[in-house]
Symmetry: C2
DNA sequence: GGGCAATCTTGTCAGTGTCAAGTTGTGGGG
DNA sequence: CCCCACAACTTGACACTGACAAGATTGCCC
């Protein structure tokens, strides 16, 4: 828990704002503190997990006083909830562009690798304010996108209940992504491209009849 | 973060030990503090996640002084590492009794549901001391058990690389278990038995040729 | 230009992890 | 049987944290 405390000097570390008096040391208004805190938080979480996140540390990084972040996010839970909501929004938009179900799975895995902090927070409900409006709507959007990708595959042709096919696809992609992020597949996957490996797994799950019968 | 502080009275709350003087109020030696702290920690984590865990709170629950737990676990990370090691041990022993790969998957899901705190901690590496000996050996045991279940299925008959089959099975089971614990399958699964649902998913992944050709 | 609301600061409080140094009990060798 | 070394626990302290309240600063809109 102990941090170095060597960071006494405020150290602006961010371009203070678009239109500042050129000689102003540290402008009273940061300019875009909300975004600065968010991205700093994402850095910390990606590196050391959500438990390493400290509002005071984020404030120090942004060069503002210790209570400034709370004005934008209310409290720690609020910050994490904002991150999760943003994550679900990003996920929804990439899933909506998927060509088919396998592509959606690949995009799901890619999202987890490109936004590991978002991903981790999104699926840790005890860190979030469950009834937050932005969160619930963003999550619903992502859910719709997922269901859309599933329904496009016509799994009745495989004799499989549509609902279950969605759960299977989601489980496979989510499990692969999670194990990847927690470094549990470093051995098996090695230096191969994870997305390519996942494509093989997805083919195992949804393969059509062996030959004939289009 | 704020806790009630109504728990001022030490309140033994545990049978102090096997062989205590009958009139001793709070015996200096707890008797089995290590186990008491572990199970209290598992309760807290299962209810509110690892971030809600406080060594001082656990000490209060066990009726000992605030620094007592540290003597058994060194620090917070040590406690979580011990939990993870115990979890991998439990998982290994249940996987070793699996009849076949599908049964191993079912057991994996059952383990996650019966030991949600262990499961969550086991796959959150940033909370653990990665080089801990007990942890690494227990994890290796679980890995062996998993590989054993995979190799027993003879997936070459399906034309699939053995290694990949293992990753697929693990991903499916892990994803299903994770989504289950984070309440993301409450809708699709409903009040059905999750293990039964998972059996269906597993059948989708490893199904043999549609008919003839044993 | 004047006020007002958003933004940020300062100060404070209870709670936490961790370390160091002291107490208490217990089991094993003389 | 005793005593003593060591394990189990306590007490006290320090730096840190999230949260809240009250004040300071500033941009902006009428």
């Amino acid at each position: 828990m102990r941090r170095t405390l060597l960071t006494m000097t405020p150290a602006p570390a961010q371009q203070p704002s678009p239109h500042q008096k050129p000689s102003a040391r540290r402008p009273y208004h940061h300019g875009d503190l909300r975004r600065a805190v968010l991205t700093a938080a994402l850095d910390v979480i990606a590196a050391d997990g959500p438990s390493a996140l400290s509002l005071r540390d984020l404030a120090r990084r942004a060069g503002v006083s210790h209570a400034a972040p709370a004005h934008h996010f209310k409290d720690r839970t609020g910050l994490l909830t904002a991150i999760a909501a943003e994550g679900f929004g990003l996920l929804a938009s990439t899933l909506n562009e998927a060509a088919d179900l396998k592509d959606a799975g690949v995009r799901y895995v890619r999202f987890a690798r490109e936004h590991p902090a978002h991903f981790q927070v999104m699926f840790t409900p005890e860190l979030l304010r469950a009834d937050d409006l932005e969160l619930t709507t963003a999550r619903a959007l992502a859910g719709d996108a997922l269901r859309g990708a599933v329904s496009a595959v016509r799994p009745e042709s495989l004799g499989i209940d549509n609902r279950l096919a969605g759960v299977a696809a989601w489980s496979l992609a989510h499990g692969f992504a999670t194990l990847l992020l927690s470094h549990n597949l470093d051995g098996p996957v090695g230096d191969k491209d994870p997305e390519e490996v996942f494509r093989t797994l997805a083919a195992m799950l949804f393969r059509s009849e062996p030959r004939e019968n289009p």
